[in-house]
Homo-oligomer: 154 residues x 2
């Protein structure tokens, strides 16, 4: 199995996982502190998918730390297959939730002008949360592609 | 390069491309026939991304027909790299546009009840269009994974 930047059990892989966890957690915090987010399904979906992302990425970060400290090799086909499936599912959910929320934010800010008219008070928080969601997705997309490449190149 | 189901220049690949073009075109038709869709950015984005999908998939379907009739081999690394990039971009855009539109439809149908109250008259058309967008995405995701696997397994 080729040794790639961002692969499991490498320092770059660990940094990617930590980045995903931190940005996903920040996205949840920004959303939860926005007033009245719970009235809208897409924003709740963003919190749920970012929560799943934190669990998955933090779990794999711990596994990476264990592998780096004990010098264990995580790059076997069975484990990488598991990482591929998990990364693909979480990446797709992160993109889906970020896009659904982005569609709503554009609606509120631009299309029907709820933000300008003051119907929604925490538009800035919603925008930041969606932005952090997209950053999380870009990091998990990187991990996902590295894992898929490793599995395919066995 | 491994010969895979759904690869370029194969009958299954051609069927996938035709499916993508047909569902993307149907999604555009369902959206365009919905009253007042142009007021909402996410619905316009869905039309734009489905339009790009039709162009890309129809172009590759024509290339597949040419390759099948002339018995040409399209499975070389340079061409497949091009297909990987194009498929990935169009798949990501299709998912993003479908999710943004789905978030809006859920908002109208459930969260703020615009459909029930009759503020929007063509909710059924919007729902069908978004559904067809998701079917298109699932087909382009299949093509995208097959291409990526072929490129990685060179």
């Amino acid at each position: 199995m080729k040794d790639l930047i961002g692969g499991p059990g490498t320092v770059s892989g660990l940094l990617l996982r930590i980045g995903q966890s931190v940005f996903a957690a920040a996205s949840i915090v920004a959303m939860v502190t926005s007033v009245g987010f719970y009235r809208y399904t897409a924003f709740c979906f963003l919190i749920a998918s970012m929560g799943l992302q934190v669990l998955w990425s933090f779990g794999l970060a711990c596994l990476d730390i264990y592998a780096l400290r004990k010098k264990r090799d995580l790059q076997n086909p069975v484990l990488v297959s598991l990482f591929v499936v998990g990364d693909w599912v979480t990446a797709t959910l992160s993109l889906a939730a970020s896009c659904a929320s982005a569609g709503m934010v554009v609606l509120f800010v631009q299309d029907i002008g709820y933000c300008k008219r003051g119907y929604i008070h925490s538009c800035r928080g919603l925008q930041i949360s969606v932005g952090l969601g997209f950053i999380t997705w870009s990091l998990i997309a990187m991990s996902s592609h590295v894992m898929f490449w490793m599995l395919a190149s066995v």
